[in-house]
Amino acid sequence: MNNFIEFDTSSLWAALPEIFLLSAIVVILLLDLFLDKRFKQVTYYLTQLSLLISGLLAFNLIGHPQTIIFSGSFVLDNMASVFKVFMMGATMVAMVYSRHYLRAHSLFRGEYFVLVLLSVLGMMVMISGYSLLTLYLGLEILSLSLYALIAIARERADAIEAALKYFVLGAIASGLLLYGMSMIYGISGSLNISDIASFASSANLASRETLIINFGLVFLVIGIAFKLGAVPFHMWVPDVYQGAPTSVTLLISTAPKIAAVAMLVRILVDGLGSMHAYWSDLFMVLSILSIALGSVVALMQTNIKRLLAYSTISHVGFIMLGFATGTLTGYGAATFYMLVYVLMSLAAFGVIILLNKKGFEVDQISDFKGLSKHSPWFALMMLIIMLSMAGVPPLVGFYSKFFILQQVISAGFITIAVIAVIFAVISAYYYLQIIKSMYFDEADKDITIHASIDMRLILSINAILILAVGLFPDFWMTLALSLF
């Protein structure tokens, strides 16, 4: 028994971003322990620095030929590198915004940043996971850090309650996902995505084997839909978005969506792509339900975090619609939509956080009243973000919806496309409500902005990017398409 492993240290280069980040986490964790209270900012800057370096390492690996290491459980390909770079970027921006919030609500603690870095590590593992085992472990690393991050506001009962709900429903989702994984393992005899793919696409699949794969597939789709927050598995989304501290809501609504889409691609496209005729029907139903419910229920919300939660559900519907087409361009369009959604969601929560100040928690739409008088610039930014989310041309939110619908129509689902458009129009109403509140209502409380210059700058760039990418979407679209 001496031929069981061939280990070559040079192959570890492919996992360099992960290895660096884990080392950085350990250093920051230990350093933070001995830092005096006055120097807690150091933890923040080190966090940003390690995210930056790790992101650059991932960027450096773009264009690397596909490499599979660790006995088939880790893959490095273009999709992994591009997703990691975007995920790191989103987290860095989220951290800039979070710092303002954490200071305003005295939640600024070293563990917060360590847990964020650990969740980033979990997302990287998911993005690069090439066996069911590593995908599951990455998902759990991400989820456990997020549960703890939500509950880190220890004195706020609503945050604790949100953490508990997220925890219980997340654990149930993991259970369903695992049941599906056990079926796929049982029939294919392997956990590696490449083995599963070659098993599922083999021509002489017995009807018995197809039946079991489909049986497992149902559980996998339910588990993934749970994690993405698609209807009817969306119960946790509004409560968690509303209850969690806004900086954590910001994190949950952005980077983990990239990781969840990566997991979806690894399992359903890379692994069971040959079975897409079976899972795309499920996806079609889930996505239409999500778009419909997300658009309609959001109309009744007065809490802006809850409103954005329902808006997320409807965006997730569009992303799943892209995957439901079962074509490579459809997958590309869904990926593009996902990246655009992350950009818009970052900016939207950024504006909410911007208005926070000591002892004042912004979470109602009415808190935006009269923003155009006090800060015309940021009211304009919010206008851009909301119009983009509503899908108004020439903003990027329009193009992302347009590409998805184009693929849906060319795949022959014209009715579905029409339904999606109708609900997208309905959803425009509640985005306009926020705009109305900013521009046409009088302020009833003091809404001056106390934010540092870096936050203002990054937020402005973020919002202007929405406009800029909307004017020149070709590069990003080509990038998203090149990943499949």
Partner: protein, 101 residues
Amino acid sequence: MVSLSDYLILSSVIFCIGLVGIFVNRTNIITLLMCVELILVAVNTNFIAFSHFLGNETGQIFVFFILTVAAAEVAIGLAILTLLFRNRGSISVDVTNSLKG
């Protein structure tokens, strides 16, 4: 001889009992957490049965990791539960009431 299908049906029964338990104990968090454990044991039984009948150990390795994850998960879950109790003096939360307007 006991066939693979016997083991799988047994674990599917346990899996469903876990789901029903979640359904009927929605406000009792401690029991909810235990139902999640039940679901995981059902999944583990699945993996071990497959591993035995396929003759490869991969399934057992997966179970090893599921046990690790579940232990970590319980530690965090009970920590959150303790926080909730400190804040509210009770641990009853309906985890499925999402439609409050």
